[in-house]
């Protein structure tokens, strides 16, 4: 059954990266519970345009939970209250009539705010650039079945490779650590046979870049795992620590 909600929104508005920001309160009425959270923001933006106010800027693209572009702190939780769910897949049936909802951007030193709810996550790309790949030029690949990969190894790699790079792990972490993100890529590639040749340099170089970007350290609070819409496990962080230690102690590189 479709019901409707009346809501109060407190949204972070910030005109630019250097300008001060503040919360602005908006009232919304008659919001269908079948709407997604972003559709609710669309409705609000339409009302703002009608009133002659600039719309709230927020990042979004695929709206089906896979591109990793949407990024909101909703009532202090990255991607809102549902587990394993991106903001775009969060639906208003999760909220109650007359709720007050606080909406903020990701907050982390390494993710500066660009405008309103939009942040700069290019630090993630720079980390991948340092080693989040297997060096194989186009055309030089062997026959795909030449290297068998046991099904359980492939499953472990796939679990880690499912990371959508949204940055919720960083936003949820009190230290703004990017360990879950980095560990997911290191795990994905270091568990597969194809990823072995660069295993040591990958772990070291990606961690070095992570530190350079100003992400914090991991203190095993596991908030990242709780917030992750792709349900990436913190066991990847343990694996990253092992990979890093192994690289430092045993590598010839």
């Amino acid at each position: 059954m479709s019901e409707t909600l009346d809501l109060t929104l407190k949204v972070w508005r910030q005109p630019g990266s250097d300008a001060p920001g503040r919360y602005v309160e908006y009232k919304l009425t008659g919001i269908s519970t079948h709407m997604s959270f972003l559709e609710m923001l669309d409705v609000l933006n339409e009302q703002l345009i009608a009133k002659g106010e600039e719309m709230i800027a927020f990042d979004h693209d695929c709206r089906e939970g896979i591109c990793g572009m949407c990024s909101l702190m909703i009532n202090g939780q990255a991607h809102g209250p549902d587990t394993g769910t991106t903001t775009c897949q969060l639906h208003m049936r999760r909220f109650k009539n007359r709720d007050t909802i606080v909406v903020e951007p990701w907050r982390a030193k390494a993710f500066p705010v660009i405008r309103d709810l939009v942040v700069d996550r290019s630090a993630f790309d720079r980390i991948i650039e340092k080693g989040g790949f297997i060096s194989v030029n186009t055309g030089s690949a062997p026959e795909a079945n030449a290297i068998p990969v046991p099904a359980h190894i492939q499953e472990t790699a796939m679990d880690a490779a499912a990371c959508i790079g949204c940055g919720a792990c960083v936003a949820a972490c009190k230290n703004a650590s990017a360990m879950l993100f980095v560990s997911a890529k290191v795990s994905h590639l270091s568990t597969l046979p194809q990823g072995q040749p660069e295993r040591a340099s990958r772990a070291q170089n990606m961690v070095a870049q992570m530190d350079l970007e100003g992400f914090g350290n991991c203190t095993n609070t596991e908030e990242c795992q709780a917030a992750c819409p792709a349900e990436i496990s913190v066991s990847n962080i343990a694996r990253l620590n092992r990979e890093y230690l192994r690289a430092k102690l045993c590598s010839y590189e």
Partner: protein, 643 residues
């Protein structure tokens, strides 16, 4: 009616037997020596499967590449949302597959409206793609022995689809993205995220650069190069509601069209049969449920009209498994266009289910009983999860409700065998071109085409272009750059200056309704003529009453959307015109006037076995239609039958 030019196209398809054409082409192509490659600059617009793979491969060869995307990171391009899989002719299951059979299925699936030689090449390189991706660490599904697993997809009787759970597009794109980022670290690729291409710069008849808007600062920027690769995806968002990402748009392709690139077959739109139905007026996009679900799910509607019971309460004797009934040979695995029209037919006849009555059931009851819940969960877990999140219903307990939605566009900029458009130096890859899927794309073929173009075709053909042209140096201070930049700036300034009353969203929704109602799953003359007038009126309304707030010199999503919408309003008219002129039914283009007694699409090979390539003649002016005749030598023209 529009003027038809009798231009004979040089599609540059090599002579010789089909199976040898691509090898012959590669042998005859000129090469750029390694020292000279370093001096050549190539612009790649878009970072989806086609764009990322092309940029990475070209940089590996030594070219200087500049890569642009409107998203905040190249990893977010919409290829990432592809679920089901990627086809290849590996024949690992030993079920009789071959390059020829993949080629045959794709030509037939496209309802004989694609270019045979391009499709054959696609099938040939399909196996290299799987090798390349496996080597990059793409975690394709595997059997217990560690070898790669396959599943079946619509339009084929063999299992040739490789997959990574329900996230194949994500994994393939992350593979291409990782190859791209590796080249960024070598310095051979420069990344320009959050840039939107707003014009193509043509110097002496050759594509030599682009104008982009920096979406953060709002500044316009000029970039020059020796050639430009356009990998900017399809135009499905003209319909407003589609399975495309919200940002997907036709702007880059359309602006190239306005600079002289012909637009081919814009009326070919794929309406995907398995999407979550529309739930309300606020709906911002539609979500696809992978076609792979039709492997195990059975599609049905109640036998009696307006049956109000829940799906799981309707007994077998009162169900109509209409795909199995109408198409016993392919059953639930008929191609997408056939499955979509069959769903529409049942709903139009009053057998639809759910609150809107615009839905049919996709039921896993029998598959769960046969294989167990665990097996179904392993195959489709994330899709079931997504369905439950969006609808609030548990698909393990009650059948899913699905309805067709706009998903993919087979039309695109016209390209020759080298993927070069009618503007020399402008190459078009992936969904943005028209060449490989004819009038209907088979499932798991889009990923194949994007990567084939990017990894294995464009790196050769662009090299040949660069080796065979001695291009003078151009500076971004040249007049052509200034003119293009002023053109793009003026357009934005004009949009900002109107300060009318209507939001871009409201006009876009209206355009979507017009296209869906008159140029959607079925089309007829009168409706198309009505649509043409309505689109022109709506375009006028846009230019007199659009309301965009904020400034141009800032992050302004309102302005971005309005700019894209302005192009959709011009493009939409061409789509309708193309549908009007094509007086036949083929693949995704179904003209009600042209159907068999059993309501199947009726092609007219005598008069329409051609590509319609449109030449721009100014907004509001009639475009000129050029025709490339299609010859079917290897796969003789035949009526598609999936019965």
């Amino acid at each position: 009616m529009a003027e038809t030019a009798t231009t004979v196209f040089n599609s540059r398809v090599p002579e010789g037997p089909m199976a040898e054409k691509w090898d012959r082409c590669k042998q005859e192509m000129k090469l750029v020596n390694p020292a000279n490659k370093r001096k050549k600059k190539i612009i790649v617009v878009g970072t989806g499967l086609a764009g990322a793979s092309a940029a990475a491969s070209l940089a590996e060869l030594g070219y200087q590449v500049e890569s642009f995307c409107f998203q905040d990171s190249p990893r977010r391009a919409h290829s990432i949302a592809a679920q089901g899989g990627i086809n290849a002719a590996k024949n690992y299951p030993n079920d009789g597959d071959s390059v020829w059979r993949l080629f045959y299925d794709t030509v037939k699936g496209g309802d004989f409206r694609s270019r045979e030689a391009n499709v054959h090449r696609l099938a040939q390189v399909s196996n290299n793609i799987i090798d390349q991706c496996a080597a990059q660490g793409v975690p394709f599904a595997r059997d217990y022995g560690g070898s790669l697993a396959n599943r079946s997809f619509g339009g084929a009787q063999v299992s040739r689809t490789f997959y990574a759970r329900g996230q194949t597009g994500q994994q393939l794109l992350l593979g291409a993205y990782s190859a791209l980022m590796r080249q960024v670290s070598t310095g051979r690729v420069k990344l320009f995220p959050r840039r939107e291409m707003l014009d193509l710069v043509v110097v002496d008849g050759v594509a030599r650069g682009i104008i982009v808007r920096n979406l953060i600062t709002g500044e316009f920027e000029k970039y020059s190069a020796d050639c430009v690769l356009l990998c900017t995806g399809g135009y499905g968002n003209a319909f407003y509601l589609s399975t495309n990402a919200k940002g997907s748009n036709v702007t880059a392709a359309w602006r190239c069209h306005k600079r002289g690139a012909f637009f081919a077959n814009p009326c070919y739109t794929q309406i995907h049969p398995t999407c979550i139905p529309v739930s309300g007026d606020y709906q911002s996009k539609l979500t696809l449920m992978s076609e792979s679900l039709r492997n195990d799910g059975r599609v049905w509607v109640p036998e009696s009209q307006s049956d109000e019971r829940r799906g799981n309460q309707i007994p077998d004797t009162e169900r109509d498994y209409y795909l199995e009934r109408r198409y016993p040979a392919f059953g639930n695995l008929v191609p997408r266009d056939v499955a979509s029209r069959a769903a529409k037919e049942r709903c139009d006849a009053g057998y639809g289910v759910g609150p809107s009555k615009q839905a049919v059931f996709l039921d896993f009851r029998d598959a769960i009983a046969r294989d167990g819940r665990h097996a179904i969960e392993a195959k489709y877990g994330n899709l079931f999860h997504m369905y439950a999140k969006i609808t609030g219903e548990d698909p393990y307990q009650v059948p899913m409700r699905i309805y067709p939605a706009v998903h993919y566009t087979m039309g695109g900029l016209w390209v020759d065998y080298h993927l070069q458009s009618t503007i020399p130096g402008l190459f078009v890859l992936g969904e943005a071109n028209f060449s490989d899927h004819g009038a209907n794309r088979l499932g798991a073929s889009a990923l194949m085409q994007g990567l084939a173009d990017g990894y294995f075709v464009a790196p050769y053909t662009t090299g040949h272009f660069l080796a065979s042209h001695s291009l003078p140096a151009v500076s971004t201070d040249d007049d052509a750059f200034k003119e293009a930049m002023a053109n793009a700036q003026d357009r934005n300034a004009k949009i900002l200056g109107i300060q009318g009353t209507r939001s871009s969203d409201s006009i876009h929704r209206e355009l979507g309704h017009i296209l869906w109602d008159y140029c959607g799953m079925s089309r007829e003359r009168q409706g198309l003529e009505t649509a043409m007038g309505k689109i022109r009126d709506l375009r006028d309304e846009f230019w007199s009453s659009i309301k965009v707030l904020g400034q141009g010199e800032q992050l302004n999503q309102n302005l971005e959307h309005a700019g894209r919408l302005a192009d959709f309003l011009e493009f939409g008219e061409l789509m309708v015109r193309d549908a009007l002129v094509r007086e036949e039914s083929c693949g995704g283009h179904f003209r009600e006037e042209h159907q068999t007694k059993e309501n199947e699409a009726l092609r007219d090979d005598e008069n329409f076995c051609h590509v319609a390539a449109w030449e721009f003649k100014g907004v509001g002016n009639e475009p000129v239609e050029h025709r490339e005749h299609l010859e079917f030598v290897e796969v003789p023209l035949a009526t598609r039958s999936y019965k």
